[in-house]
Structures are given as C-alpha cells and as structure tokens.
Symmetry: C2
Subunit: 383 residues, 2 copies
C-alpha cells in the first residue's frame, strides 16, 4: 500500500525521514505527545503548536468509551472536536483492552471486555476498531492486536501472535473497503508482537510483512519484561522491518530509549512519561529527571533547564515551580508539562539534526553517562 | 496622600476612571482576577494578557505562609516570582486570618494565629503586614483589618471597628516610613468595616477618612449577611467615600453585583467566583451560570457563549468541554477558567463603555431579568 514516507538522511542505522499525512508532515524520528482522551493532558492546542509538536497520539479504546464514537462523529471527527489540526495517530486500544479492561474474553471474532469506567460490556472486533478510527478521522491508525503480558507461557504467545496476524489481515481488508468506498482514510499500521522470543517475533513479521502495511509498529515491548530482553527483542525486530516504511516503537520511552531505538532505525515514538511525570512534579533536565518539590529548589531562581527554549524556562524559576507544586496549584502541572513535552521534542530535534549531519554516534557518545547509570530514567508510579 | 487616579466619565453615580500604578494603568471599573497563592488558578500570565486582565489580586496571608516572605524577597518580589508584570493588589490577610486560621487571638498589638497549612504559630501586626507587602512589591496594598463574622454582637463589632481604625493609623505610619526610606511603595488602601450597622460604618468612615488614604475598600460585606442588609450597607457606605479616591468592594461578586455596586460608585472588584466555578465545571453565559457536565451538552457543538471572544469559545465546543470535565481532564479547568475570567472582564469592559457613553442605566435595564431571579448567580461550594 502507498505511504508518503521519504528517507533522506542516514547515520549508521538511524534514519531521517518525512511522513506526509492529510493534516501535515511529520519529520522523523519524531516523538508524539500522548493525548489519550482527546487532550494532551494540561496543554491547549496552542501550547502544542508553540512547543512544535508534530503528530500527537490519541486512544481509540478511551475515546470509544468516552465521549463515545457518536459524539466524535457528530463533531466532525477528532481533529475538530479537540481543535488540533495537526496529524493524529490513534492507537487501536489493543493494549488498553488487555491491560485496563477487566473481564476480557478473547475469541477468534474479537474481544469482549468491561469498561474500566462503568463496567459496561463491549465487544470489539478488528473491523469495528477500523470503523471507529475512520470516525475519529485519525491520520495514522493501528490494527487491533493482542498485547499479552510478558509472563504468559510461550505456547500462549504463539497462539496470540497467530490470532493477531489473522486480525491484522481482517483489519487491512476492512481498511481497504473504506478506501474503496471513498472515505478519507489514514495510514493503517500493522503491529509486530511476539514478546521477547525471536522466533515468535519472526513469525509475526512473516505474517504481517506479506500484508504490505503502509507502516509497522513494534508492540508488546516495555510492558514489564527485563531490560536486556527488551533490548534484544528490539534489536532483533527493528532491522527486519521494511526499509521504506515508517517504524513505530509503541509506548517507549525515555530520552535514553530514543537514542537506543533510533540507532536501530526506529522513526516514531510515543510515551506518557513527560506528561505524567510533569503532573507528578518531576521535570526533565540534561541531568535527568528532577523532583521539583525538593527543598533545595526553595531559593533556586534559575530556570528548570538553562538551555531550554520553552515558555516555562523563559519565564519561571525552579523556586516558583516548587511553590506551585507544594501549594498544589494547577499551573504547576501546566508549566511542568510545557517544559517536559518541549524537552522530549527538543531532544528529538537534536537527534534529527545529528542524523542529517551524520554524527548520530557522536550524539550517543555525548550521553554515554546515561547508559552507565541505569534506572536514572525509570518511570515513577502514577500519582 | 497622593494617588494617580482620574475620573473622566460618569453615568449617574457610576464612575469611569483610570488608576496609574508602577506596573501599568487600571481602567475602572475593573474586575481583578484572584491569584491567591501567586497564580490565578489554572492560567499562565500569557493567558491573563490575552484575556486583557489589568490588575490581579494576590493574598498576603497565603504568600507569607507559602512560599514565605524570604523566598519572594530573594526572587525580587512577587511580580518577578510569578512572571506577571502588570499591576498587583495584595489583600492584607485580615479576612483569611479571621476566617481560615484556627486558634486566632486578637490583641491590641496584633493577631496570633495558627497556619491553616501546618498549624505553626504566627503573630501578625499591622506594621508587619505592611512590611510583608513591601517585600511582595504589590502596587496596591491593604491595611490589616479585623473582619468579624456578621453574627457577632454589635458591641463586639463596635470595639472591632475601633481597633481596626487604630490598626489603620499604625499601618499608614509604617507605610509612610517606607516611603520616607525611599522604598518602592504601592498605594495603601484603608478598609471600612462596621458590618451591616450604619452607625458603625459611619464610625469606621469617620476614623479612616481623617487618615487620608490613597484609596478605600469596603470590607466585611458578602461574608454571610442577608442580601438586603448587604445592599443597604453598600448603599450607605459607598457614597460616603471620598470622590477623588478609588473605591474597592472586597470579595464581590457576580456580574449582577457589579451592576449594583458600580451604580453606587464602586471602582474595583475581586472575586474567586469565575475561577472557582470554572474548576467546578460551571461556565458563565448571558443566560447565567451553566454546569457544563449536563447531559444536554453531549452533542452541543456550539461555543459556551456565541458572543464571547475568548480562546475557549473561538476553538472549542460545549460538547468538548463537557467531555473534558466528565473525563476529569486538567484542560477542562484551564479552558473553563479562560472563558469565565474573560466573561467577567468583558462584562466590566461593557460597563466601562456604557459609563463613557452615559447609558449605564440602560445597561442595567438590559439585565433586569437578573434582578428578578435572585439566586441564579449564587456561589456553589468549592469542590
């Protein structure tokens, strides 16, 4: 299938590209701020523009349950509803159905689950998930996949990969019917599963690559498996994806993770970390992640990050941010989110420049300390 | 004492003026958004500028306790700390000491109280409150006053008025010493107390007017007394304030209250209502206050208010706002606050124009329905 994706730079395996969508271009590698419920938490679309966000992510499962597909359809699509006219990628909800929703029951036809909001029962099929995303009108859409926890027996994972492949085929057929019917259709991405097992990853790749998706995601990583297993599975899978298609590593991760994954040829990322950490009062700096409520910042009138060009760093001090969080003021979450999202986007801008100038390895070298102190970037629990 | 306040328009008793401060002019009548803890809740200073806020209010009691006077002093003042370069009025904390702080003990020298945050003990005197506001660097400052609840016996209120007058005299002396020492000094306002009793209001006026403050506030109204008593006390007090000084009605109120009080010659207002209501999901429209979570808005894709020029109304629908509040998204509070504050500021702009064009009475007539349905504008509890 066609995808308007052009690679124009390389540095080692790192790729510099541009993905064109109906709502604008995405310079890759790119970080997508997460707007699960149709809002990147605490930010206005005007903020997102100022931060130079490109594509943002929204979640089909969440939006299907609330405000509901019929509301978004009546609004004229998700872009209109949330007043974001840039590109949107929608996750299929596979991950959410298999991690959030209680009492799920997987059948060949689809998956039955209870809403995490009100316990109401729902049945999602691959076709229905494609239909919902067509209503949302997202620019990049994901197939419904099963994302099993990493501690499942291998035999289970194998059956799951086979079913996910069959679901991918049904998704693509449903997507093609929409294209043929003339409905505005985004790019449909397949999702490679298979846990930490090379043979299962290969099995998933074999099934999906034959279907010729416009883009491919790597799913089921960074979901609780060991760090070494994560890195091995990524290193196995990424280079086996087709060269000419965008590659999206789902739900990953930290700036350190970006360096590692871009080095494997990944183009797209999303992660709740910068927005979630911000609401918890943790801000990102070149020295890592810093809890802004620390007493040491009480009289610190410097910005969060001297080198940052965001609204927060240009106007406000660590002391003020600390005050806002200690006093539980909403503005604290807003200003910290502005900074953290900009930090992630700026980090990716730096990665893109380094690839353009073929000095990506040197960039990794500059951040070597990060790789020698594991855990620095680990996520804190939600709070 | 000098005050750079010029009246240049009248319509009945309503006054159109301009107050010059070290951080810019305030066109009166004016509504001041409330930034109790050094932030107008949920808004950035950039938002406040876009909303065309003029003077904002901050609270001496809250800022003294948190982040603490020494932090604000080290920051170079409150304007620098919160990155707001427009005018700031600071309330003295009298109201908070007498309503929030437990275990207060009033003596002639000052008032002892426990922090509502951590129970720590503090002693504030009129002089200390002037000193703290000098550190904050606010443009308009308030004397420490006692704000007794309306159900206190009249004999108590009388003694309280006498003490508040003596405190006002000490405050003014402390303020003059700062002026003489060359410290940048804002305008110090006296506060008329006396509850709902005309003779006590007169006693308070007699004491304060002799002290020649640059401006006068009416305190102790809208603190739980009956509506009729409120209106009588306002009608008694406002016309007895000096013509050539700005008049500030503290903590009031609704758009309806603005009309009534401007008609009595009031120039300045502050109220937490627009910001607090916004966080509770209540938005202001020409039809009154509307809970945006109502089911009827699920498919309502019009703006909160067709006539509103705010960022929220220009970009987002009632359906989206409803979704944000139902999903408990921070952006809901941000967007509703933008609208409500702009609604209040725009209402005051309309009042100013009507005075300039000497048709303020006609404006009141236009909103007559409000005066025939009491309770419409009543405040909801914090939530």
């Amino acid at each position: 299938m066609n995808v308007d994706f052009h690679l124009f730079g390389r540095s080692g395996q790192a790729r510099r590209g541009v993905l064109r969508t109906a709502h604008g271009v995405v310079q890759t590698p790119s970080f997508m701020p997460v707007g699960t419920q149709g809002t990147v938490k605490a930010l206005t679309p005007a903020h997102l523009r100022q931060l130079r966000a490109q594509m943002i992510l929204a979640n089909t499962y969440h939006l299907y349950l609330r405000p509901g597909t019929e509301v978004i359809e009546a609004a004229g699509g998700l872009h209109r509803l949330m007043a974001w006219d840039g590109p949107i990628l929608t996750d299929s909800g596979g991950f959410q159905v298999f991690s959030l929703a209680p009492l799920r029951k997987i059948e060949e036809e689809g998956v039955e689950f209870q809403s995490h909001i009100d316990g109401s029962r729902h049945f999602l099929t691959p076709e229905k998930v494609i239909e919902i995303q067509a209503v949302l009108g997202s620019d990049v859409r994901m197939v419904l996949d099963e994302c099993p926890p990493p501690d499942k027996p291998k035999a289970y994972l194998e059956r799951s990969v086979e079913r996910t492949t069959r679901w991918a085929e049904r998704s693509l057929a449903a997507h093609r019917r929409q294209l043929e019917a003339g409905r505005p259709a985004g790019l449909l991405f397949g999702i490679v599963q298979g846990g930490v097992y090379p043979d299962l990853r290969q099995k998933s790749l074999d099934g999906l690559l034959g279907l010729d998706f416009p883009g491919y995601a790597i799913g089921g990583l960074s979901v609780g498996e060991k760090r070494g297993a994560y890195e091995e599975a990524l290193a196995f899978t990424a280079p086996r994806l087709p060269e000419d298609r965008p590659r999206y590593l789902m739900g990953v991760g930290t700036p350190k993770d970006f360096l590692l994954a871009v080095a494997q040829g990944i183009d797209l990322f999303d992660c709740v970390m910068p927005t979630r950490a911000a609401r918890n009062g943790a801000v990102f700096t070149a020295q890592g992640r810093v809890p802004i409520k620390r007493a040491e910042f009480k009289f610190d009138f410097g910005p969060i990050d001297e080198s940052c060009d965001c609204y927060t760093c240009r106007h406000f001090s660590r002391a003020y941010l600390r005050h806002l969080f200690v006093a539980k003021e909403i503005l604290g979450a807003v200003l910290a989110t502005i900074h953290n999202v900009r930090f992630f986007l700026r980090f990716m801008e730096m990665i893109r420049r380094s690839i353009e100038e073929d000095r990506f390895e040197a960039l990794i070298g500059r951040y070597r300390a990060w790789f020698e102190s594991p855990g620095q970037e680990d996520e804190e629990p939600d709070g």
